[in-house]
């Protein structure tokens, strides 16, 4: 319920003067190299630059099971793991840092979803302070919230592998190549998973269109 009271956070960040790997919204190479050498300030700059994107991705990957505490935990895990591996990240290579981070976040999300499955799913709980504040909500807000809940539920019905492809494409605008690299799958697999995910979502959300 809190979701719709919040601001969307995964909009692309402003592009720096000199972007790593040439991507819009990417951090500059100098900062990235400093971060790879373990510079604390640079590390923070990288985190601040990408945290919203990683958080948004993990939130949607976890779907109805997402809670603020859990997703923040996983976001931190993603960056901690990324910084351990950052010296091996090829700054001059084809991969954008954002795509590389989303690839790490994908593995972390898969692990978490597997862990939840192993434990029988468990009940996820989330705070709903906004809904309890008592302010009157407009019908439009209520409708939008209902749509969001539907999308979250339907996305949650996809397998994690299909969901990842869908979210990376539809919400993060990654190219097919980038998705293939991030998920370590063939280009054809990206296409087929995306196609199936879209078909499932389209059918499930038909009445909302």
């Amino acid at each position: 319920l809190k979701v719709l009271a919040m601001t969307r956070v995964d909009a692309p960040a402003p592009a720096p003067a000199r972007a790593a790997s040439g991507g819009a919204g990417e951090i500059d190479d100098v900062t990235l190299r400093r971060a790879a050498r373990g510079d604390e300030e640079a590390n923070r700059a990288v985190f601040d630059r990408y945290k919203d994107r990683v958080f948004a991705y993990l939130w949607r990957m976890l779907g109805p099971r997402a809670t603020l505490a859990l997703v923040e935990d996983l976001t931190q895990d993603t960056f901690l793991r990324a910084f351990e591996a950052l010296p091996r990240f090829s700054i001059d290579g084809p991969a954008r840092l954002s795509t590389w981070l989303l690839a790490i976040a994908t593995r972390i999300a898969f692990n978490e979803l597997r862990r939840q499955r192993r434990r029988g799913g468990g009940a996820t709980v989330e705070l709903v302070e906004d809904s309890l504040r008592g302010e009157t909500r407009t019908d439009q807000q209520a409708e939008r919230r209902a749509i969001a809940a539907r999308i979250a539920t339907e996305l949650g019905k996809l397998s994690p592998e299909h969901r990842a492809v869908f979210v990376l494409r539809e919400y993060h605008d990654l190219s097919y190549d980038e998705i293939a690299r991030a998920l370590e799958i063939e280009l054809g697999t990206v296409q087929s998973r995306l196609s199936r995910a879209r078909a499932a979502l389209r059918a499930a959300l038909e009445d909302l269109r």
Binding site: L1, V3, L4, M6, T7, V9, E40, F47, K51, F55, A56, W59, R65, T67, A69, L70, V71, E72, D73, T75, Q76, D77, F79, L80, N111, R114, R115, Q116, G120, G122, A123, T124, V125, E126, L127, V128, E129, D130, S131, L132, R133, G134, R144, R145, A146, I147, A148, A149, R150, I151, A152, L155, E170, S175, Y176, L194, R198, L201, L205, L208
Partner: protein, 410 residues
């Protein structure tokens, strides 16, 4: 972009998808991350302590704050990315994250661990005193010079010394074994084992263990409560004065938040009571009136929660306070039962379903049903001692239980 990526025609309406928004992460997320990053080389767990110490599905939310203690039924400290092998020798008390659980090693303790081919975790406790919390369903063996302790999903402590081991179990059960024999040790039991003798019950009394269990539970509950700034006493308690429309809205997402009177027994509640008094300028007479009502109603509610806890777990829970009992009941309820109870009770509360005639239902259902009535009962009793408006004003300073929604709505 390649031709095949020009998939605008295939894409689902972006405006529709945009409705699925994402909340903003907490403002202090960067600071917390940096703190973890700085600790990364120290072998310390990368989890926040309140997550580490346990899982809970309930939350006591300070009045009016809208934040709370809402945690999942999970223990992220046991995620797969924890180290599968390692060794630690600690000079002072230290928490070590290992695959399948956590180990809190006291000063001078030393452990080594690895995951075997079958996926079971083996910990070699070479010396010292170590507390373990282990995830259910994983093979987890602690080997000591005096024998081995195989866990069956639990929370326990192993103290090694030259004369042997002492194993204390707080939750679940373990199997203690050595060349001389083997025995199962359950929650609340403490056994000693030496290299030459099988495990035998130590003279330690159960009362002491119960106290320790209660202390752990209290610390865990308080830690959860201390997670976020409480910001108590905003203008209103969001769990009070819910309109029929709001109740219907909550029912649609199977959500049953309820306010809880200031029953004594938890440091947080004590604090809430004091802040409520202070905010409203309660006189000594008014405070005494509140105390009288608490003394009148708390024992019955406490007895009811204890009975529910016992029915659910088979344990007495005598040493647990109200908050901990609430958390434990929610935590130990199967997820499906919890979701079903939230659905049923939220609908009853909104007038969309009828409660069972025989006051039946699952334990969690009865706890929720009782919970949603509690605030009114207390307020009515207090209104017999104080002006009704004053009683209601005080009620708005209470906290409450918030398990969050359990369904996605229509």
């Amino acid at each position: 972009m390649t031709a095949r990526e020009d998939d605008r025609d295939e894409r689902i309406d972006p405006e529709l998808l945009a409705a699925y928004e994402v909340p903003a992460p907490s403002a202090d997320l960067g600071d917390r991350y940096m703190a973890r990053w700085r600790r990364r080389g120290e072998g310390e767990s990368t989890r926040r302590s309140w997550w580490r110490i346990g899982a809970a599905a309930a939350a006591l939310v300070a009045a009016g704050i809208g934040i709370g203690l809402v945690v999942g039924r999970r223990d992220p400290s046991t995620r797969d990315d924890a180290p599968a092998a390692g060794e630690a020798s600690v000079a002072e008390r230290h928490e070590i994250r290992i695959r399948g659980g956590i180990a809190v090693a006291e000063a001078n303790a030393r452990i080594r661990w690895h995951v075997d081919d079958a996926g079971a975790m083996h910990v070699e406790q070479l010396r010292g005193d170590v507390f373990y919390r282990v995830e259910l369903g994983l093979g987890f063996v602690v080997e000591t010079p005096a024998g081995s302790v195989t866990t069956l999903g639990t929370c326990f402590r192993v103290e090694t010394s030259a004369s042997g081991d002492v194993v204390t179990v707080y939750e679940g059960a373990v199997q203690v074994a050595n060349a001389s024999g083997s025995r199962r040790v359950s929650a609340g039991e403490r056994v000693g084992a030496s290299i030459t003798a099988a495990a035998t019950t130590t003279p330690d009394d159960r009362a002491k263990i119960a106290q320790l269990q209660a202390r752990i539970a209290r610390l865990e509950a308080d830690a959860r409560l201390a997670v976020q700034p409480l910001g108590m006493h905003a203008d209103r308690n969001p769990m009070v004065d819910l309109t029929p429309e709001k109740l219907a809205e909550l029912a649609r997402v199977c959500h049953v938040p309820y306010d809880v009177p200031p029953f004594a027994g938890s440091s947080l509640v004590d604090r809430m009571i004091e802040e409520g008094y202070s905010k409203l300028g309660f006189t000594a007479d008014e405070r005494r009136a509140v105390t009288r009502v608490v003394e009148k109603l708390q024992p019955a509610y406490e007895a009811e929660l204890h009975a529910l806890y016992t029915e659910l777990t088979g344990e007495s829970g005598d040493a647990l306070d109200l908050l901990t009992l609430t958390v434990e009941i929610a935590q130990k309820t199967p997820a499906a039962d919890l979701a079903a109870a939230q659905r049923q009770v939220s609908r009853e509360r909104a007038g969309l379903a009828t409660p069972p005639r025989d006051s039946g239902g699952t334990v969690i259902e009865r706890m929720l049903r009782s919970g949603i009535a509690l605030g009114d009962v207390f307020e009515r009793a207090l209104a017999r001692e104080l002006p009704a408006a004053r009683a209601h004003e005080f009620r708005r300073t209470w906290g409450g239980v918030n398990l969050g929604p359990s369904c996605a709505g229509p």
